[in-house]
Point group: C2
Chain length 510, copies 2
């Protein structure tokens, strides 16, 4: 009977496959775990890539890494079997884990069997085991993370995401996915990417005229890549009180600086039932404090500090980038919390004061109406934050900020020239603005007025206005540049080097 045929086939299949991972995969350990093992063991299986090779007459040494740690495993091989290997080869090694005679490692792998797993044209590899400039490495992002100091940045990102996920979950925030394709280009007029569908031209032409408009726009009207998740988050917060997202965000800015990308991740959160900026700042502070505390006690953290030491040992001249000591101070400054808070007005006054006392020279004279320049922000972070703690600058003039921000004092008379909004920028040394947030205007009429004043009103924001008509609620939130945070945590000065495949004006490799 055919039924029994397939059934028995199917059963034998079950047996053969045993419903589990393969034995080889179950038995392997990664390099990090093996290096932590201080006792001898036989029949060890490990996989990785050859980082370097040293051949002597009677013995060869291979340093093996698999990206799980900055450290390499020392594999001791017979010279003849090492012939099939070169720098970069993927290998499977079997052997015994034994105390090492060398002083550089406690244990090493005495290899009984080596298998080269794939091709490796070491000679023509654009990635060479020598110093190559960051600029060049950015042209080969598909190979770059194989450098241990870059691999650790991948692990840092992963760890920080995990810390954030845990933090927000404990704080009762719901993680959401806000849309990437949106109707609104309100925040970055002229600096958004437009999307279109790749429809073949003849297929458009074959449409009836009345259908053409809808065909030319896949979504009927023009759509853009999101510049911020905030407006959508506000809608979701009105259903579950506290929401957050870690989501890609886009700017078609033609700027070519170490701080800007065309595509970057933003961490954004909104919380309801508050009119107090303190509540919002408190979330930012405790969140970053939790991330830093996790980093301080993690292996990734320890290894990151070592990469900074190596980085500075390599440089002949002093550079502006953070040393291991600087980094540890940063993390401690984050973990401890209690960050200074100063109003914008006080900050300007302080800057003017510093200038008048010749403590500092600026290219741009600080002025209440002109706003803070990067050099001013840097000085604020260096002095008020003592170069190791972030500083909240609060209550900026309304004219400098977005339409959705609530006034510091809700009873403010409109005619008050210098009225401020309940907002903050979080400034850190080197990078300046890391995050920004505010209490949102939750009153319908006031929001409409603000939208008119900024020229952002329009049908595509009717839904946002609805949030103020039906069950409106005082709320606030913030956005934090996630890639910038990774820069701050790692001491990497160029944001293009903490993003696996960075995109910026004119550049989109791979």
């Amino acid at each position: 009977m055919r039924t029994s045929l397939w059934r028995s086939d199917f059963r034998s299949l079950e047996c053969r496959r045993a419903f589990t991972t393969t034995r080889a995969n179950r038995e392997r350990v990664n390099v990090a775990r093996l290096l932590a093992q201080q006792t001898a063991a036989d029949g060890v299986n490990v996989h990785g890539w050859v980082q370097s090779l040293r051949r002597q007459k009677k013995v060869a040494f291979a340093a093996i890494s698999d990206g799980s740690t900055l450290d390499t495993l020392q594999a001791v091989l017979k010279p003849e079997v090492s012939a099939q290997l070169s720098t970069g080869t993927a290998v499977r090694l079997t052997g015994s884990w034994q105390a090492s005679k060398g002083s550089k490692q406690s244990h090493e792998l005495q290899v009984s069997h080596v298998e080269a797993l794939g091709a490796n044209d070491a000679e023509h590899n654009p990635l060479q085991p020598k110093y190559q400039t960051p600029e060049f490495l950015r042209t080969i992002p598909h190979l770059r993370p194989r450098i241990p100091a870059n691999a650790i940045l991948l692990r840092l990102r992963s760890q920080v995401i995990a810390s954030l996920t845990q933090f927000f979950s404990q704080q009762g925030f719901v993680q959401t996915h806000t849309p990437i394709i949106t109707s609104s280009d309100c925040e970055g007029a002229g600096e958004v990417f437009t999307i279109s569908s790749n429809m073949a031209k003849d297929s458009v032409e074959s449409q009836k005229p009345e259908e053409k408009a809808s065909v030319e726009h896949f979504f009927r009207t023009p759509k853009y890549l999101t510049v911020s998740a905030q407006l959508h988050l506000e809608a979701l917060a009105q259903a579950v009180d506290r929401v957050w997202t870690l989501s890609p965000t886009f700017r078609a800015e033609r700027s070519d600086t170490p701080r800007h990308l065309s595509e970057f991740y933003m961490l954004e959160a909104e919380l309801c039932f508050t009119k107090e900026l303190d509540d919002v700042m408190s979330v930012v502070e405790s969140m970053l404090s939790a991330v830093a505390a996790d980093l301080l006690r993690s292996r990734t953290g320890t290894e990151l500090l070592r990469t900074r030491e190596a980085h500075h040992a390599e440089q002949e001249t002093t550079t502006e980038s953070a040393t291991a000591t600087d980094l540890k101070q940063r993390w401690t400054g984050l973990a401890e919390g209690g960050w200074p808070r100063i109003t914008y007005a006080n900050a300007i006054e302080m800057l003017l004061d510093a200038v008048s006392q010749s403590k500092v020279k600026f290219t741009y004279k600080p002025s209440y109406s002109a706003g803070l320049q990067a050099e001013h922000e840097r000085y604020i972070a260096a002095t008020i934050g003592e170069g190791k703690r972030p500083v909240f600058v609060t209550d900026y003039p309304r004219v400098q900020k977005a339409f959705y921000m609530a006034p510091t004092d809700p009873s403010d008379d409109e005619s008050t020239a210098d009225k401020t909004v309940a907002c903050f920028d979080l400034l850190v040394p080197e990078l300046c603005e890391l995050a920004g947030g505010s209490i949102r205007e939750h009153r319908s009429q006031e929001l409409l007025k603000a939208m008119d004043a900024k020229g952002v009103a329009g049908e595509h924001l009717d839904w946002y206005q609805d949030l103020r008509e039906y069950g409106s609620v005082p709320h606030g939130g913030f956005g934090l540049g996630f890639d910038r945070l990774l820069c701050y945590l790692s001491g990497v000065t160029n944001v293009r080097d903490v993003v696996a495949f960075p995109r910026w004006y004119g550049r989109c490799e791979c």
Copy 2:
């Protein structure tokens, strides 16, 4: 002295703000936590939205929710203070938590103070407290999650992300962010979105001719929204062995089905050092098993089951959607693991057999060369998976699958007409394909041949070819439709209803 002025200002600021969250925010509890409290308490502060109001002569009852639970809190008010409230109003309530006289709840809040927090035009709210069709609700996604059965879908998404983050972290996978803007349109030719920058026309015309090309394309050449993170993940896996991402993905498909969106989240993972499909399937199986186990023991899980009961109680006719019992079976089927695995060839044979025995009628006759139709996949899930366990169908004919898949038998002769690739589709009841994966071709020449055969070779994939030249390594991976997974876990049949702001052909609300 001015310095001391700002310094003292700054200090007084510190004192005033106390570096913490506000007292009001610290002291509030959410509805879920309060409902779990079985002892009386005074001075309770709680915030939420009025779900319903019932006014009697001497007393009024308000059901309050804040999205933290499906349940509402019963607030007992004086009729005169309830006048300021309507369905949907955001409120702050203060009172004492006491044993209830009613039978529907153990405790209730005897309210001493009510504050309506914002405007609420209940009458004109498009969202009304009555049955409204899913089709209508999709036109108001900014209001839709206020329905408790929709709010719980937000919480489900959040919980599943947290489960996944923990699972992958424990398994040594590095979470990464792959690019959204890419050069490659290879997988979905004609079905990709193209991006362009919104540069004003006159500014383009003012450019010199030789600069025009670069201006018209922000990134010099045409760029698209990603259809899959896989190729980029493969590059990162070659640095840290095991990687995963949960990332937005796009298709400009002009299809209007309950299973397709233009923008959706894909969970993708890659792992190195394996040639065995079993290793890849094992990750999928243990991952979904962990997610389901978390769901089974969570409050969100319990509440989801209750929404299904309510859903079915509301319907007069039987519907095709899953009951609470079905759902629990699904979760158990996922949590237990040990899912059937059957080859494509055996599946076709089984289908033909079922047809010949008149066990089932299909619109399309099963055939090895035509591929599995949705009706066939549904039958496989229903019979082999017994309608409660996913089924892995493996080893499809090469002609049906993507270029990067490795052969089932690497020694396969090219001339073998029906040669298969080491791949799987994961089929579940109702939704059919939930995930797909394969061993990737890691041999340079074989990959080139496959790319030529599928017509996908090109300069923009040179970097992908590089991965086979330098330190190439056997590896495999998979992609899972995250929104579809949420459908499967929740029993929601239309993917547009598990996504907060769904986008599909012609539709992009908010």
